[in-house]
C-alpha cells in the first residue's frame, strides 16, 4: 500500500462516499491503461459538523466509448444522452449531480482550464434542469478536488471527500500542511502522527448509552483527545450501576448518566466540547445531534437504539461501532458462552437489520411510552448480568479500531469485519456483515445517503413531544 496523506477534517463542503461505492469508482477510474475515465455520482445532502455534506448514494459508471466519448473542446466528455438521463434522475430524486473524472498523479489534483471552462458552459443549464446542486470532481487515488454549483447561484469548492471504510480516509486537493501537536499528546502522537492526533481533536463523536460500556468509551475518548462528544442516555444512575461506571461515586445515585459522563470527560480533558442529551436516542433532539457526528458508538443494548442508530448510519453515511456483551445464564444458573461483540456498521455495507440483530417485536415494545413498556412485554424481562472487565474488553476493542481508523493506520482499508471475542474459550474471530440486496436502509434502493430528504429526517421533523 502506497503511503498516503492523513488529512484532518476540513471546514466547508464535504462529500462522503460509502466504501463500496468508492471501491467501484476506484476500479473504474484508476486502471492500468493510464487513460481518463468518467462517471456521475448522485448524492443526498445534509448539515454536517463542519459544513454542508453531500452524501453519495449512487454511482453511474460512464462506459468508455459509449457514455464517455471524445470531447469537442477537451480530451473526453460524458455523452449528451448519459448526462440527460443522469440529470433527470437527479431532478426526480432530489439529488446532487456530480460529474467525475480522473487525472494522473497521486497526492495532488486540480481542475484544468479546459475542465473549468466546460463547467461554466454546462453547469448553469444542468442546474436549471435539476434545480439541485451540480458539480464536478476530479480524482487521483489520494486526492479529490470539487467545484460545486449551489442552488442559490453561488459556487463553492469541495473541502474534502470522506471515505468511511476500514480507515476513515479524507481526501483533499492537496495534502494538509503538517502542524505540530500539543506536547501533551506526545506519546500517542508518536503512533498517530501529528495529523492523526489533530484529526482526533476535530472529530465529533457520539456515545449512545452511558452505562458499563459507554462510561469506559467516554473516559477513553476524552483522554485520547477527541474534540467533541455527544452524550446520549435517558437513564439515571442506579445503585447497582456503581460497580461498573467509571469514577462513579455513591452520591451519583439518581443523577442522570449524562451528568456523570460529562463530569468524567471534563476531568479527563478540560478542553473537550460536550453536548449532553438526557433523552432516548429516538427523541428528535438526540437524532438531530446524532446525525451531525463523525462517528457513533452504540453502547445501548436496546432494539430501539439499534434501529435509530442504524438508520442514522446509512441515511447520513456516518460510521458506527456497536459494542455489546452477552452473558447467557439459564434459569438454573448455568453460564453459557460469554461473548463480547464489537460490530462495525459501515455505511452501505450491510446493516443491523440485514444481520438480524434487531427484533421487530422488541422494537415495537421499546417504542411504547414508559408507562406501557413493561406491561406490553408478555413475558417480563430479567436483568442480564454485567461485569466491568467484560465491558472494558468490548470497549477497548471498539476504541482501538476507531483510533487506528482515524489516523489511517489499519493495514487493510477493506477490512470491515466485526470482532467476536469469547473469553471463556479464549477465542477471537472476525465476522463480515451480510447485506440483503433490497434492504431499505443500507442499499440505494432504500434510504442510503438520502440525508435531509430521508425517512429519519422526515420522522424527526414531524410533530413530536419535546
Amino acid at each position: 500500500m502506497a503511503r498516503r496523506p492523513v488529512n484532518p477534517p476540513a471546514d466547508g463542503w464535504s462529500l462522503t462516499l460509502p466504501p463500496r461505492l468508492w471501491n467501484d469508482l476506484s476500479r473504474h477510474l484508476f486502471r492500468a491503461d493510464g487513460d481518463e475515465h468518467g462517471a456521475v455520482i448522485l448524492a443526498g445532502q445534509a448539515d454536517g459538523p463542519r459544513g454542508q455534506r453531500l452524501l453519495a448514494r449512487e454511482l453511474l459508471i460512464a462506459r468508455d466509448g459509449e457514455d464517455y466519448v471524445p470531447g469537442e473542446t477537451g480530451y473526453r466528455a460524458l455523452s449528451p444522452t448519459f448526462v440527460r438521463d443522469a440529470i433527470v434522475r437527479a431532478r426526480d430524486e432530489q439529488l446532487a449531480y456530480l460529474a467525475v473524472h480522473c487525472h494522473f498523479g497521486l497526492d495532488n489534483v486540480q481542475f484544468s482550464r479546459v475542465d473549468l471552462a466546460s463547467h461554466e458552459r454546462g453547469y448553469p443549464t444542468l442546474q436549471q434542469i435539476s434545480d439541485q446542486i451540480v458539480g464536478g470532481l476530479v480524482l487521483t487515488p489520494h486526492a479529490v478536488a470539487g467545484d460545486l454549483w449551489l442552488s442559490d447561484g453561488t459556487r463553492a469548492p469541495l473541502a474534502e471527500t470522506v471515505i468511511p471504510a476500514g480507515n476513515l480516509r479524507r481526501l483533499r486537493p492537496n495534502p494538509a500542511r503538517p502542524t505540530a501537536s500539543d506536547p501533551l499528546w506526545d506519546r500517542q502522537a508518536r503512533l498517530l502522527g501529528d495529523r492523526g492526533q489533530e484529526t482526533l481533536t476535530h472529530l465529533r463523536v457520539a456515545v449512545v448509552g452511558l452505562g458499563g460500556v459507554g462510561s469506559v468509551l467516554v473516559e477513553e475518548l476524552a483522554r485520547l483527545g477527541a474534540g467533541e462528544l455527544v452524550l446520549i442516555d435517558s437513564e439515571t444512575v442506579d445503585a447497582t450501576n456503581l460497580p461498573r461506571l467509571i469514577a462513579a461515586e455513591r452520591g451519583d445515585v439518581d443523577k442522570p448518566k449524562t451528568e456523570l459522563a460529562a463530569r468524567n470527560a471534563m476531568r479527563a480533558n478540560p478542553q473537550i466540547r460536550l453536548v449532553t442529551v438526557p433523552r432516548r436516542v429516538e427523541h428528535p433532539e438526540a437524532l438531530r445531534e446524532l446525525v451531525q457526528c463523525d462517528w457513533i458508538f452504540l453502547a445501548a443494548d436496546s432494539h430501539a437504539a439499534r434501529h435509530w442508530v442504524n438508520a442514522a448510519v446509512h441515511e447520513y453515511l456516518i460510521p458506527a461501532t456497536q459494542v455489546g456483551v452477552k452473558i447467557p445464564v439459564t434459569g438454573d444458573g448455568e453460564i453459557g458462552q460469554i461473548h463480547t461483540a464489537t460490530r462495525l456498521i459501515a455505511p452501505g455495507v450491510g446493516c443491523l437489520w440485514c444481520n438480524q440483530l434487531i427484533d421487530r417485536t422488541e422494537l415495537a415494545i421499546e417504542m411504547h411510552p414508559d408507562a406501557e413498556r413493561e406491561q406490553a412485554r408478555y413475558i417480563p424481562g430479567i436483568p442480564a448480568p454485567s461485569v466491568m472487565p467484560l465491558n472494558t474488553l468490548a470497549a477497548s476493542e471498539a476504541l482501538t479500531h476507531f483510533l487506528l481508523a482515524s489516523a489511517s493506520l489499519h493495514e487493510d482499508d477493506d477490512d470491515l469485519g466485526s470482532v467476536i471475542h469469547r473469553p471463556r474459550i479464549r477465542e477471537r474471530h472476525l465476522q463480515d456483515a451480510r447485506q440483503d440486496s433490497g434492504c431499505r436502509w443500507c442499499t440505494p434502493t432504500g434510504n442510503l445517503g438520502r440525508g435531509a430528504n430521508g425517512e429519519l429526517a422526515i420522522r424527526h421533523a414531524t410533530n413530536m413531544r419535546s
Binding site: 434501529h307 421487530r360 422494537l363 415495537a364 411504547h368 408478555y378 410533530n463 413530536m464
Partner: protein, 128 residues
C-alpha cells in the same frame, strides 16, 4: 391536527380503508407514532359481546417495527371458560382492556402491514 411521518400516515389510511364504516380514533403518542382505536369490531359468538373495540400503537419505527401488542375491550367467553395464553387483562389508554400478545416473527415489512395484522388478530380472537 397531527403531523405524521408518511409511513405512519399511510398505515393509518390502510386501517381506515380496511375497517371502512367503523369509527377509527387516532391519537398521537407524542413520539412520532399514534395510538389507533377501531370501534365496533366483530369478534364472533365465542364471546358474550360479539363486537368490541380494537386498539394498537403504530410507532415512529413503523414499518420496521411490528405492531405489538393489540388491545380490545374486556370480553367474557360465552362458554364461561377463562381466556387462553397470550391474553391478559391490563389498563390501556385509561380504560380496562385485554392485551393480546401475538408476535409476527417472520414479518416482511415490505408485504405485511398494520391493517393485515389487525385483521389476523381479529380472526385469531374470534377463533379462540
Amino acid at each position: 391536527m397531527i403531523t405524521l411521518a408518511p409511513a405512519v400516515a399511510e398505515a393509518v389510511e390502510a386501517v381506515r380503508l380496511h375497517f371502512a364504516g367503523h369509527p377509527v380514533e387516532v391519537v398521537t403518542d407524542g413520539a412520532g407514532g399514534v395510538f389507533v382505536t377501531v370501534e365496533e369490531v366483530p369478534v364472533g359468538t365465542a364471546y358474550t359481546s360479539s363486537v368490541t373495540w380494537l386498539g394498537f400503537q403504530i410507532s415512529a419505527a413503523y414499518p420496521d417495527a411490528d405492531i405489538y401488542p393489540h388491545y380490545t375491550g374486556v370480553l367474557t367467553r360465552a362458554d364461561g371458560q377463562p381466556h387462553g395464553p397470550a391474553i391478559q387483562q391490563v389498563p390501556w389508554q385509561n380504560r380496562p382492556a385485554m392485551q393480546i400478545s401475538r408476535r409476527s416473527n417472520r414479518r416482511d415489512s415490505g408485504v405485511d402491514n398494520v391493517a393485515l395484522k389487525a385483521e389476523r388478530i381479529r380472526r385469531w380472537l374470534a377463533d379462540q
